[in-house]
Amino acid sequence: MLHTINKSPFFSNNLESSLRFAKDGDPIMLYEDGVYAVLAGTKVEPAMKDALKKHPVYAIEADVKARGITKVVEGVYLCDYSCFVGLVEQHLVSPWF
């Protein structure tokens, strides 16, 4: 199952909820304001690092760049919409708005 998250983790609990339901190995796709979760050095970073131990984490690069995020938590894959589509080819999608 692919979990997609598009809200800022500083504002909403959606990332947290998705991680509660994701099983080990499930990929996580961050896009829109969800990409703020990949900024390094924030209070969310520890949760992100924990998530990375269990899940491949992807973030849409266009969203990351648009927000001026230059320091990215190590291990996150920056990718484009073609990569997003590729993940959807392989997984059922669970969106967490």
Partner: protein, 123 residues
């Protein structure tokens, strides 16, 4: 489509009632889809559990009280209704506080059922 397998569709309700229309329009979609011969289930997670809270009284608010309509899901043979235990507990609620009978389950169990679906629809 008589020879085809039924399509499994799960509604994932995570929004509270009345503050936004998602739960209500989600219910409208459930009722329509229930009328066709597919396999519909509904999971209530996070603030979605509030949608099933008993004793909702919207008279003074002036909007529709639709929680009772969930009782009709049975008529459509929609009986796979799952509620996340942790979401309930964080909100001080138990199955007795809900307007219909539900299956209270751990997140991991609900996740397994999710994985068996063809489509997940978030509301």
């Amino acid at each position: 489509m008589a020879e085809k397998e039924k399509t499994k569709i799960m509604f994932v309700m995570r929004k509270a009632a009345h503050g936004s229309i998602y739960a209500y329009e989600g219910l409208e979609a459930i009722l329509i889809m229930g009328a066709f011969e597919q396999e519909i289930s509904v999971a209530f997670i996070d603030d979605g559990v509030f949608v099933l809270k008993k004793e909702q009284d919207t008279k003074s608010l002036g909007v529709k009280e639709f929680s009772k309509t969930f009782r009709t899901l049975e008529d459509y043979d929609i009986t796979n209704i799952y509620v996340d235990r942790e979401s309930l507990e964080q909100r001080g609620l138990s199955a007795d506080d809900l307007i219909i009978p539900v299956k209270v389950m751990e997140a991991g169990e609900i996740a397994k059922i999710m994985e068996g679906q063809h489509v997940l629809l978030p509301f």
